[in-house]
C-alpha cells in the first residue's frame, strides 16, 4: 500500500515536472488553470442591466465608490448601469430599489446607508429573481443578497499595528497614539481591536487614543487635542485619510516631527505624500474604494452564469472579503491608480 502510494506520488511529480517544463500545453491541466476562462469572462455576453445605489457622497471614499462603479461599467459593452445618486434617507433609498424592481433590472448592486434597514427591500428584489450584490455594509439576512463584497476593518487595524511593530520593534517603551473615526460604529471598534491586538504582539500598546468623526474639521480638532495631551509620540495611526487632511494640518501647525504617521482607507493625496516623502505620513492601510466596482463585476458574472476567473469553483462566491494591505514608499506605485481622491 505504502509503496504503491509513493510510486504514484513520484509518477505524479514527474508528470507535473514535464508539464511545467514542456512548452506544449497540457489539455487536461489547462482546464483548471482557467487562464482561458478569464479571457472568456471579459468577452461580451448577454446584456446585463444593473441598478446601483449608494449613500450620499459626503465623504471622499463614498464618492469614489460610485465613481469607480460607473467607470467599471463603461468597460463592458454588455453592461447597462443605472445609477441613482446617493442618499442618506433610507425611505428614499428603499424607493430607489423598488424602482429597480419595477424596471425588472437583472442585478442590483447596493451599498445600503443602513444594512438592516434595506434588508426587507433587498429580500423583495431577490424574490423577484433579481441578483442582489451587497457592498460594504451587510444586510441582516443571508437571503437578501446573492453575494457580498466586504472590506476588512479588523484587518486594517492588524496591518497598521504590524507595520508600527516592524518600525518600532527595537525601541521598547515607544509611545503609540491612535486617532479613531466615529467611536460608536462597529467598524471603528473593529479597526481599534485589530490595532491593539497587533501591537500587543510586539509588546506595545496604544498610549493615547482620541476619536474624530471622519470629517476634516473633526480630525483637526481631535489631533490638536492629542498633540497637547502627548508631548512625545513615536507612531500615530489615523483611521481615515479624509479626516487625515485635518490631522495633517494640526500636526503642521504644531511643528512636531518626532513621529511617523500611518493613514487609513488609502486616499490618493496621502499616497502622493508617501511617495514624495514630504509629510508625516509614511504609510497608509487600504480600505478599498473599489468595492462598488467589484460589485458591478460580480453582478455581471453572476447574471451571465460565469465563474470567478482564477477560482476552480463554477459559481460566483457568496462572499468576497478584500485585503487591507500596507502602502509604503516601496510599493505605492502599485496602489496609487486605484486610490480615491478626497
Amino acid at each position: 500500500m505504502q509503496f504503491k502510494r509513493i510510486t504514484l506520488l513520484v509518477a505524479a511529480s514527474a508528470l507535473a515536472l514535464t508539464a511545467c517544463t514542456g512548452n506544449t500545453p497540457e489539455p487536461q491541466g489547462g482546464g483548471n488553470q482557467s487562464g482561458g476562462v478569464k479571457v472568456a469572462n471579459d468577452e461580451p455576453g448577454k446584456k446585463v442591466v444593473i441598478g446601483f445605489s449608494a449613500p450620499a457622497a459626503d465623504h471622499g471614499w463614498m464618492a469614489a465608490i460610485t465613481n469607480a462603479a460607473k467607470a467599471e461599467a463603461t468597460k463592458y459593452s454588455d453592461v447597462e448601469l443605472r445609477v441613482v445618486e446617493g442618499t442618506n434617507d433610507v425611505n428614499l433609498q428603499i424607493s430607489q430599489v423598488e424602482t429597480f424592481i419595477n424596471d425588472k433590472v437583472d442585478a442590483i448592486v447596493l451599498l445600503p446607508f443602513d444594512g438592516a434597514a434595506l434588508t426587507p427591500v433587498a429580500l423583495k428584489a431577490m424574490k423577484a429573481g433579481i441578483t442582489v450584490i451587497n457592498v460594504d455594509r451587510q444586510f441582516d439576512s443571508p437571503f437578501a443578497a446573492r453575494s457580498t463584497v466586504l472590506g476588512d476593518n479588523y484587518g486594517m487595524g492588524v496591518s497598521a499595528g504590524t507595520y508600527v511593530c516592524e518600525r518600532l520593534k527595537d525601541k521598547p517603551g515607544s509611545v503609540v497614539a491612535e486617532i479613531a473615526g466615529i467611536d460608536s460604529l462597529p467598524l471603528t471598534q473593529d479597526r481599534s481591536k485589530g490595532f491593539a491586538e497587533a501591537l500587543a504582539g510586539c509588546g506595545l500598546k496604544v498610549n493615547n487614543r482620541v476619536a474624530a468623526e471622519f470629517t476634516v474639521e473633526s480630525g483637526e480638532r481631535a489631533a490638536a487635542n492629542l498633540l497637547q495631551a502627548a508631548p512625545k509620540i513615536d507612531a500615530l495611526w489615523n483611521h481615515d485619510d479624509d479626516q487625515g487632511v485635518g490631522v495633517t494640518a494640526a500636526i503642521k501647525n504644531s511643528g512636531r516631527s518626532e513621529f511617523f504617521m500611518v493613514g487609513g482607507a488609502g486616499s490618493a493625496n496621502v499616497m502622493r505624500e508617501i511617495k514624495a516623502d514630504n509629510g508625516p505620513h509614511k504609510a497608509t492601510v487600504i480600505y478599498p474604494s473599489t468595492q462598488g466596482a467589484d460589485g458591478i463585476r460580480l453582478a455581471r458574472l453572476a447574471v451571465q452564469g460565469k465563474s470567478l476567473g482564477d477560482l476552480v469553483e463554477v459559481e460566483v462566491p457568496r462572499e468576497v472579503q478584500l485585503y487591507a494591505p500596507v502602502v509604503t514608499k516601496d510599493n505605492v506605485d502599485r496602489y496609487l491608480p486605484t486610490a480615491f481622491e478626497s
Partner: protein, 341 residues
C-alpha cells in the same frame, strides 16, 4: 376643494370675493389647488415623456405613493402647526426618537408577549409626548417656536443616539411588518394610512371647531384670545397633534425598514415645511390647506421618482426642488397681495 372656510375663518382675509373674475378665482384656495394640479400633471407628463411605460405603470405609481406616505403624514401634521402660526423644526428628530424608543429590546419584549400594536402605541406615545413638550415650551414657556423646536431637534436626536447606542435596532416581532406590508384592494397599507390621515386632517381643519380655532389663532392670536379662545392651550394641542403624526410616521418607517435608528427621518423638517409651503399654507399662519399639502408632497416625491427613472443626480434634484419652492412662494406672495388689495 371647498376650503373656502379657510379664507372665511381667517380674520385678516377679505370677505369672500363676490365677483367671478379670473383673478379672484386664482386667489381663491380652489384656484391655488388648480395650479398645483397643473404642476403635478406637467411633472407626470415629463415622467411619461422621458421614461414612458416605466413611469406610467401601476407598480411605479405605488412606489411613488409609498415614498410619499411617511413624509406625507408628517406634512399633514405640519400644516396644522404652520396654520396655527407656528413652526416645528424637530419633526425629523422626533421620528428618529420614536422609531428608536419603539424598537428597544424592552418594547419589543412587551410586544412579543402581547401584540405588535404595542410598538405602534409606543411610537405614538413618544411622538405625542415630544410634541407636548414643544407646545408647553412655546405656549407657556414663551420660547419662540423656531428656537424651542431647534432645541428639540438637537435633544431628541441626541437622546435617540443614547438609547440606541447609535446602533440600528432590528424588529423581530412577528406580524408587525406583515401588517404594514399588506395591501387593501391592491393599495399598500402605508398608502391607506396616509389617505386616512389626510382625510381626517381635512375634516379636522375645515369642518370642526378645532379647525376654526386653528385659523383664528394663526391669523391673529390677540383677536382669538379676546374672542374667548384659550390660545395657549390650543397651541399645545397643535404641537401635540404634530407629535402624534411624527409617531405614526415613525411606526410606518419602522415597518418599511424593519428597523429603528437614530439616523431615521434626516431633514424631514425641511421636506415637510417645503411641502406645506408650496401647497399654499401661509408661513405666517392664518391660512392653511390640507389638500395643498398633499399635492405638495406628491409633487416632491414624483419629482424624485422622475429623476431616479432618468438616472439624474440627487444634486440636480435638490436644485429643482429649491426652484419649485421659490416659484411657489413668489406666486403665493403675488396672490396674497392681490387678495389683500
Amino acid at each position: 376643494m371647498s376650503e373656502d372656510t379657510a379664507a372665511v375663518a381667517a380674520p385678516q382675509s377679505t370677505p369672500v370675493a363676490k365677483e367671478s373674475s379670473v383673478a379672484a378665482l386664482l386667489a381663491s384656495p380652489a384656484g391655488r389647488n388648480t395650479g398645483l394640479v397643473v404642476a403635478l400633471v406637467l411633472l407626470c407628463l415629463g415622467g411619461v415623456v422621458t421614461a414612458g411605460d416605466r413611469f406610467a405603470d401601476v407598480d411605479n405609481v405605488l412606489t411613488i405613493l409609498r415614498l410619499a406616505a411617511v413624509i406625507g403624514v408628517v406634512s399633514v401634521g405640519m400644516t396644522f402647526v404652520i396654520t396655527g402660526g407656528g413652526i416645528d423644526l424637530s419633526v425629523g428628530a422626533i421620528v428618529a426618537l420614536s422609531s428608536v424608543w419603539a424598537t428597544t429590546l424592552a418594547t419589543q419584549g412587551i410586544a412579543n408577549d402581547t401584540h405588535w400594536i404595542v410598538i405602534v402605541f409606543t411610537a405614538l406615545l413618544v411622538g405625542g409626548a415630544c410634541g407636548l413638550v414643544n407646545g408647553m415650551l412655546i405656549a407657556y414657556g414663551r420660547v419662540v417656536a423656531f428656537i424651542a423646536t431647534l432645541a428639540s431637534l438637537a435633544a431628541a436626536r441626541g437622546l435617540a443616539e443614547i438609547i440606541s447606542n447609535r446602533k440600528t435596532q432590528i424588529v423581530n416581532v412577528p406580524g408587525f411588518a406583515a401588517f404594514f406590508d399588506a395591501s387593501v384592494l391592491g393599495v399598500p397599507v402605508l398608502v391607506v394610512i396616509f389617505a386616512v390621515v389626510a382625510v381626517a386632517g381635512w375634516v379636522l381643519l375645515n369642518r370642526t371647531t378645532f379647525g376654526r380655532r386653528t385659523f383664528a389663532v394663526g391669523g391673529n392670536p390677540e383677536a382669538a384670545r379676546l374672542a374667548g379662545i384659550d390660545v395657549r392651550r390650543h397651541t399645545v394641542l397643535l404641537y401635540a397633534l404634530l407629535g402624534l403624526c411624527c409617531g405614526l410616521a415613525a411606526a410606518m418607517l419602522i415597518a418599511r425598514t424593519t428597523t429603528g435608528s437614530a439616523t431615521h427621518g434626516g431633514l424631514y423638517e425641511l421636506d415637510a415645511i417645503a411641502a406645506v409651503v408650496i401647497g399654499g399654507t401661509l408661513l405666517s399662519g392664518g391660512r392653511g390647506t390640507i389638500a395643498g399639502t398633499v399635492f405638495g408632497v406628491l409633487i416632491f416625491t414624483t419629482l424624485s421618482n422622475v429623476f431616479t427613472l432618468n438616472n439624474l443626480s440627487i444634486s440636480a434634484q435638490a436644485v429643482a426642488k429649491g426652484a419649485i419652492i421659490v416659484v411657489a412662494v413668489l406666486l403665493q406672495q403675488r396672490l396674497a397681495r392681490r387678495s389683500g388689495a
